[in-house]
């Protein structure tokens, strides 16, 4: 038995598979569409969400017996927004370059429905440690899908991975391009993120038939 009990481990592992926030709960789709045209942006977003969800879930869990239920959604929003702004300001002062790269993600993190969803569904009713694990688990589940989608969209759309040309040079026609391969510009457009997510959902449900709802 390792560091985590079986139940705690399920908090981290379930969102990666049978309870994935994107493919099963279908949350956080908007940011999955918006920023997955490149692998790097997907990774940055995944890391940011892991941080915000871990800390946010801790804060909400600590406050869970004090938050008035009538305004709990507003309180949750304030917590996420404050966290994100604090991080943004500190980065602007001490790591300006990094903050410039992250600036576009700030708005997307605040409005990420997975974060609000986990605050509401889990952190409000569970202890601090379990809430922290749940936050990390769900953020990882989200991040994994983001990175898979980002990988395929960048590879097929631009022929690059993390900005490095892996299929040859499309301008001077080397590598794959020399035999007539072309980048698929469609992959860079948002709808293709949905189709890639759809394919992931299809594969996941084919492999785990118990996820398919009865009609």
């Amino acid at each position: 038995m390792g560091l985590l009990s079986k139940k705690d481990r399920a908090l981290i592992l379930d969102p990666l598979t049978d309870n994935n926030p994107i493919t099963i709960q279908v949350l956080g789709i908007c940011s999955a569409l918006a920023i997955t045209a490149q692998l790097k942006a997907s990774i940055v977003m995944a890391l940011s969400v892991i941080f915000v969800m871990g800390v946010g879930n801790i804060v909400i869990s600590l406050l869970r017996n004090m938050i008035p239920s009538k305004i709990r959604i507003i309180v949750q929003l304030v917590v996420v927004a404050t966290l994100v702004i604090v991080v943004d300001q500190v980065l602007k002062a001490y790591a300006y370059e990094l903050s410039k790269q992250l600036s576009v993600f700030i708005g997307l993190i605040i409005t990420n429905c997975i974060i609000m969803g986990r605050f509401e569904a889990f952190a409000l009713g569970n202890g601090v440690w379990r809430s922290f694990l749940d936050g990390i688990g769900n953020a990882l589940g989200y991040g994994v899908i983001l990175i898979i989608v980002g990988f395929f969209r960048e590879l097929l759309g631009s022929g690059t991975l993390l900005g490095i040309q892996v299929l040859g040079d499309p301008i001077t026609k080397t590598g794959l391009y020399s035999i007539g391969y072309e980048n698929n510009g469609f992959m860079l457009l948002s709808p293709m993120a949905l189709i890639v997510v759809g394919i992931i959902i299809w594969i996941q449900r084919t492999r785990s038939p118990h996820l398919v709802e009865e009609n």
Partner: protein, 250 residues
């Protein structure tokens, strides 16, 4: 029995405390960090102006590496020989013209009595004179801006673009090397010698931008509106600045 947290008075109390705590936390943070943030922004501006002139620490083909913040003040002074701002048709020399915030100047023009100040920088590199002008426009989501360096031959020598919130991987790519590099050497006058600006064009079919005289560079797939914003801001500002650059260039 109702929970204590359902009480209206408690709810109000909680809301007030929350607003006060969060508000003072953010206000405290903002005021303590402000000097550092302002300084970082000053360095950034110097770095961006130098970048447009082609003074940077780029190594690989895809890097955008500025002069380091420790050195940038010194380097800026050694390359930028004169700084002006243009106000009401006059050019006024000002050593701190680079601190003028173009977005603020544009916003102030809503007051009809205000005469906006437009900064213009003159740089010297390898015996050549560069005229560097700021540009500002709208992308898809928010502001886009940058600096354009024009040479003595009135051809673009280099650009630097930045944006507030363009889509990562699409419009946000205007600040990537592959896009900015294409502007170097591009002509802003058409074949008849008329001012044409530079159009970010779809279907230009010239990805390496070998045709420098066509006033066009290839657009980024999936970011039409950001590209159109770049076209518009270049056209607006270059047209405004051109008479001053031509008079300085004589």
């Amino acid at each position: 029995m109702a929970k204590k947290t359902d009480n209206n008075l408690y709810t109000l109390f909680f809301a007030i405390v929350m607003v006060v705590v969060v508000g003072s936390l953010l206000a405290f943070l903002a005021s303590t960090l402000k000097p550092r943030i302002v300084e970082n922004q000053r360095f950034e501006k110097q770095q961006n102006i130098l970048y447009a002139m082609g003074i940077h620490n780029n190594e690989g083909d895809n890097d955008v590496q500025f002069i380091s913040t420790e050195k940038v003040g010194e380097v800026f002074e050694s390359y930028i020989s004169n700084q002006y701002y243009i106000q009401d048709g006059e050019m006024i020399e000002d050593d701190e013209a680079y601190l003028i915030d173009l977005a603020r100047e544009e916003a102030l023009t809503r007051n009809p009595d205000y005469k906006k100040r437009l900064p213009l920088f003159i740089g010297e590199k390898d015996g050549e004179t560069y005229y560097i002008v700021p540009v500002l426009g709208k992308g898809l989501w928010d502001a886009i801006w940058g600096f354009v360096a024009i040479g003595e031959d009135l051809v673009v020598k280099g650009v630097y673009f930045d944006h507030k919130a363009e889509t990562p991987g699409l419009g946000a790519n205007i600040k990537e090397r592959f896009f900015m590099d294409k502007f170097s050497g591009e002509h802003i006058f058409d074949e008849e010698g008329e001012f044409a600006g530079i159009t970010v064009a779809k279907g230009n079919n010239d990805p390496a931008n070998n045709r420098k005289q066509d006033n066009k560079v290839d657009a980024i797939a999936g970011s039409t509106i950001t590209g159109d914003g770049v076209t518009a801001m270049l056209r607006n500002y270059l047209r405004t600045y051109l008479p001053y650059i031509q008079s300085l260039n004589q």
